[in-house]
């Protein structure tokens, strides 16, 4: 009889010990293997163009990535274009959506242009530019570096004298591609990037 009781108590103790050991192991694992943040947000953020332009309605690309991970629509990023929407759709395994932007402006690759004779040197556009593409100093004329400008048009609104306008990006001469290289023999060796229209 006492041997039976001993067996019962030992078994119960062993099971309690096993459960405690498992609990301690798991609580250790939760601390030790904690993953900071959502890895999905990093993958989404890597696809977004990092212009931090805020046209999606979020203060930057990272907040928009977090919003997408939380279920926000993926077509709110005009600088990324349709290409970004398609890649996001592929990453998230959802159907692609048409880009949520004015199709006329979205299709054109634009840059900001400061009308330099009107510029009063207030530096407000410099503070607004998310990619530091505007050069200038207080009371001195500002200018846009077209290579860095992403065409986000965030500098338009702050300008007190309305001297910034959006113009199509001018193409460097070596990006021209002959339209009919098979006809004009001297064009046949010309290579380049297709014109953005």
């Amino acid at each position: 009889m006492s041997a039976n009781w001993l067996n019962l108590v030992l078994g119960a103790l062993a099971l309690t010990g096993l459960t405690f050991a498992g609990g301690i192991l798991l609580s250790f694992a939760v601390r030790h293997f904690r993953v900071d943040g959502n890895p999905l947000v990093d993958s989404i953020d890597a696809i977004l163009p990092q212009t931090q332009c805020g046209q999606c309605g979020h203060p930057g690309c990272r907040p928009y990535a977090e919003a997408i991970a939380g279920g926000e629509l993926i077509n709110r990023c005009p600088p990324g274009g349709q290409d970004t929407v398609d890649r996001l759709a592929e990453l998230l395994g959802v159907d692609s959506l048409p880009l949520d932007a004015d199709p006329e402006t979205a299709a054109i690759d634009q840059v900001a242009l400061i009308i330099e004779e009107d510029c009063i040197g207030c530096t407000k556009c410099i503070q607004a530019c998310p990619v530091d593409a505007i050069l200038g100093a207080a009371k001195l004329m500002h200018t846009v570096l077209p290579d860095l400008c992403t065409g986000c048009d965030l500098c338009i609104a702050p300008c007190p004298v309305d001297c910034i306008e959006m113009v199509p990006r001018t193409m460097a001469p070596n990006t021209w591609t002959p339209l009919a290289p098979e006809i004009i023999s001297s064009d046949r060796t010309t290579t380049g990037v297709a014109l953005h229209v």
Binding site: L15, L18, T19
Partner: protein, 193 residues
């Protein structure tokens, strides 16, 4: 070595866990509607079944037999397997996000599945050694994966087939599973262990 090979074939085909022993039927019906989710589930199950065979063997030989407490084996196995799977999931999430993305949601799903507990208890009943336990787990996992992937392929085709309304959905799936079980009866008598 032949013995171990025979154990694998026996667990995978002759005594197939799903179609002959009727273990692990919930993932068999639940995760078989699409081929890619069936693949993920198969990988996760293969992992958990092998792991649980080994863990159960360790618990049995290190804890239960010395204390003469084999009457606690069901409880102890469930606790040990759940802890091992949960621990692996946490470690996997940190060290290999890619593998975690493949196995992630399926690992906790099958932690306390009847096939997982079944492989541990069957190992105990048959008094398998450590290697035999592990190979029995691998064989069970192979059989489970084979059947799950075959069945999901069939179900993907069934989704587009013209099935009379009373049979559509789960009914035709169960009937198909029955036919597969009949087919697997053909393996019985192939090996006697």
């Amino acid at each position: 070595m032949t013995e171990l090979g025979l154990i694998i074939v026996s667990a995978a085909l002759v005594n197939n866990f799903v179609l002959v022993q009727f273990l692990g039927l919930c993932p068999f019906m639940g995760v078989s509607s699409r081929l890619d989710s069936a693949l993920g589930m198969s990988l996760a199950t293969a992992f958990v079944l092998t792991l649980s065979s080994v863990v159960a063997y360790a618990i049995q030989s290190l804890l239960l037999i010395p204390l003469d407490a084999m009457w606690l084996k069901t409880l102890a196995f469930i606790v040990a397997i759940a802890v091992a799977v949960q621990f692996t999931e946490l470690a996997l999430k940190k060290t290999s996000p890619l593998l975690h993305a493949v196995l992630g949601i399926y690992l906790p799903l099958i932690t306390t599945n009847c096939a997982v507990l079944g492989v541990a208890l069957l190992n105990t009943n048959r008094a398998h050694s450590l290697a035999e336990s592990a190979f029995y787990g691998v064989g069970a996992a192979l059989g489970f994966s084979l059947v799950l992937i075959l069945f999901s392929g069939v179900r993907e085709r069934l989704a587009f087939a013209d099935i009379p309304t009373p049979f559509a959905g789960a009914s035709i799936a169960l009937i198909t599973a029955g036919f597969m079980a009949l087919a697997f009866m053909g393996f019985s008598g192939m090996i006697r262990l």
